[in-house]
């Protein structure tokens, strides 16, 4: 992903061409971010539209010394996705009770699995665990930042992360390879 300085300055000047360039450059990555965080994929378009509008309207406030544009844009998408998740009435609110839900697989198999499968398998985690796992492990946010994004305590964030890791470890250790193969065949 190459985003030139001239593209960014063009977007600050509200130049449509530069905005289109930035859109083309960021779209594949931001789509993946939105897909990871959104519980309901039908909101994908809405989240991306809202996020890009926010990006273009606030790009003049972006400080490249604090974070690269890509990460700043991803944070907007994450926030937007989490807001949309709140709007979705989830009927099957899952509370983690120590048991393992969904798929499990072997560590060696991960390399062969498609990305979508990894995302889907992670989405089987309870919502809060999944968000913290995504934010910390995948996107590299600190617990302080996670606490701000999810409006929870830092200690709570740490607790949820350890439980998410525990969930994943359990899923891995259960070694239900047949189930994994069934899931793989879907892709």
């Amino acid at each position: 992903m190459n985003i030139s300085e001239s593209t960014i300055s063009g977007c600050i000047r509200n130049c449509p061409k530069a905005q289109r360039e930035l859109y083309e450059a960021l779209l594949p990555y931001l789509r993946a971010v939105a897909q990871r965080y959104l519980k309901d994929p039908s909101f994908n378009m809405d989240v991306l539209q809202e996020s890009f509008v926010k990006i273009f309207n606030n790009i003049k406030n972006h400080d490249s010394s604090k974070a690269p544009l890509k990460n700043w844009a991803a944070k907007i998408v994450i926030n937007c996705s989490l807001n949309y998740n709140k709007r979705v009435a989830i009927s099957n609110v899952e509370e983690f009770n120590g048991s393992i839900h969904g798929s499990s697989f072997e560590l060696d198999e991960i390399d062969d699995l498609p990305d979508e499968f990894l995302v889907d398998s992670l989405k089987e985690m309870p919502g809060k665990l999944y968000n913290v796992f995504n934010l910390n492990i995948i996107d590299g946010y600190t617990h302080k930042e996670i606490a701000q994004i999810l409006n929870i305590n830092e200690s709570n964030s740490r607790k949820l992360l350890s439980r998410a890791k525990e969930w994943l470890r359990a899923a891995y250790q259960k070694n239900e390879s047949d189930y994994t193969k069934i899931r793989i065949s879907k892709f």
Binding site: C15, P16, E24, R31, V53, D111, D115, I137
Partner: protein, 482 residues
């Protein structure tokens, strides 16, 4: 086990989704429409406010300058409003003379209200004044020649003087010994308003003098005195006629005007009329702000010739209807009807299903065309007191700088407008008519309001069609008189 999390991180951290049928054009249309609706032409708004502030600052500076000048004027013995009168008059330098004359006139003023009292009292006053005049004349002649006096006081040339100041004038172009009176500070006195001799050699030329209330200012010394003799006229003419024409008859003005502009777009095409019509329905003019610097020569206080440089922005709004089909999940949706003819029953089948729904929305883009414009204007103006009004007409040369936004291209497809900044600068032309109204803040600055109406033939997009832009705008600004 940490390896597991690292694997997830490595796989998902910088993951990008392939295009795989994703409708990115539709998403972009929605985004572009929304950002331009929310923040239309942010840069232009900022610029326009700067120019507006600049204009206000100029007006304030002009006003300050005006008040400062009035302050100075109060200390002196003349009114700025009657600057011409000041130029045309001679002052009494001797205060005693002024007092005497003032006293005489005061007396006359009181007496002049009666029509019949012109005999005794006025003759008495006249006598007093004639004494003053004669004394003054003798002193004056001793000191300097008439030529040096003229040079010092720089009287307004004869033509103007005769036209403008006929009312209060006393003719000194007489024979014999009274001819020297032109150099003295004579106060004209006559109460009946008729053309008759006050003293030998002094005539009131105009019947409009009805009483002595033509005195202006606080100081009686600012009364007008003619000083216009044929000889004197000849001398002045010989001095420098050409210089006089250039410096007095031709005035120069510089103006800074900021305007609010509303264009109307009219596309024309002989080859593709349908496209022109489509463009006419999808594009419409939108408000913009322009700024202009101009210089104007005023010849003989009537005719004007102006040249300017303008930064023009012509904004338009491009709107179109966008349609898309969206799959929507419906619960208990009627998906089928089974009619059993044998049993004479109708069974409705409901199911949770995905249905395609067509959604339409209006997308708007805000376009702008930027030009440098050089207007040449011929006109006519009139001045009345502090007010100036007039009209201008002339051609305008437009140098297209750039254009941005989206519009229908030659294939009726929505496309970006080509930006001309990187290509050849294109020249187009137009016509403009304007009327204006100005108000003199002081003898240097003038406020001006100038409504314009113009036509601009702009060929921007490859020549498949031409664009006539009819612009109406109202400009407001400050004029500096050189």
């Amino acid at each position: 086990m940490e390896e597991l999390f690292d694997k997830y991180k490595n796989r998902l951290e910088n993951r990008e989704l392939p295009e795989d049928g994703f409708d990115k054009e539709f998403l972009w249309d929605a985004i572009a429409g929304e950002i331009q609706e929310k923040t239309p032409l942010v840069k232009k708004k900022g610029n326009s406010s700067i120019y507006l502030l600049g204009g206000i600052a100029l007006v304030l500076i002009g006003s300050l300058f005006m008040f400062e000048t009035y302050k100075l004027a109060d200390k002196g013995t003349y009114k700025l409003a009657d600057k011409n009168k000041y130029k045309e008059t001679y002052k009494l330098t001797n205060k005693e003379d002024s007092k005497k004359a003032s006293k005489a006139l005061g007396a006359k003023s009181r007496s002049a209200r009666s029509v019949d009292n012109k005999s005794k009292s006025s003759h008495k006053i006249e006598k007093e004044l004639v004494d003053i005049i004669e004394n003054k004349t003798i002193q004056f002649n001793k000191k300097r020649s008439s030529q040096s006096v003229i040079q010092k006081y720089k009287p307004v040339p004869f033509q103007n003087h005769e036209i403008k100041r006929e009312e209060n004038r006393i003719n000194t172009s007489t024979n014999g010994e009274s001819s020297d009176l032109r150099n003295s500070n004579v106060i004209p006195l006559h109460t009946n308003g008729e053309k008759e001799n006050l003293i030998e050699g002094i005539n009131v030329l105009n019947n409009s003098i009805e009483n002595d209330e033509f005195l202006i200012g606080k100081n009686i010394a600012s009364l007008d005195i003619g000083l216009l003799t044929n000889k004197f006229e000849e001398k002045m003419k010989l001095l420098d006629i050409s210089k006089y024409i250039l410096s007095k008859e031709t005035k120069l003005e510089l103006a800074y005007l900021s305007s609010i502009n509303l264009p109307y777009f009219q596309y024309k095409s002989n080859e593709n009329k349908e496209l022109a019509e489509r463009k006419n329905t999808t594009e419409s003019g939108y408000v913009s702000f322009n700024k202009a610097l101009s210089a104007k020569a005023i010849i003989d206080n009537k005719w004007t010739l102006g040249l300017g440089l303008e930064l023009n922005t012509i904004n338009s709004r491009f709107s179109y209807t966008s349609e898309r089909t969206v799959p929507e999940y419906k619960e208990n949706y009627l998906v089928g009807v089974v009619i059993d003819a044998n049993k004479d029953t109708v069974n409705l089948i409901y199911a949770d299903t995905l249905i395609d729904i067509k959604k339409t929305r209006i997308v708007r883009h805000y376009n702008s065309i930027k030009t440098y414009s050089i207007p040449l204007a011929f006109g006519f103006q009139k001045t009345k007191s502090r007010w100036t009004y007039g009209l201008n007409l002339g051609p305008v040369l437009h140098i297209n700088r750039s254009q941005s936004g989206r519009a229908l291209d030659e294939n009726s497809e929505i496309n970006y407008l080509e930006d001309h900044t990187s290509t050849i600068i294109k020249l187009t032309w137009g016509l403009r008519a304007s009327v204006y109204l100005g108000y003199d803040l002081n003898h240097k600055f003038k406020l001006q309001c100038k409504p314009n109406f113009g036509w601009h033939n702009a060929k921007f997009e490859g020549g498949a069609y031409s664009l006539d832009i009819y612009q109406s705008n109202v400009a407001l600004g400050l004029v500096y008189k050189l």
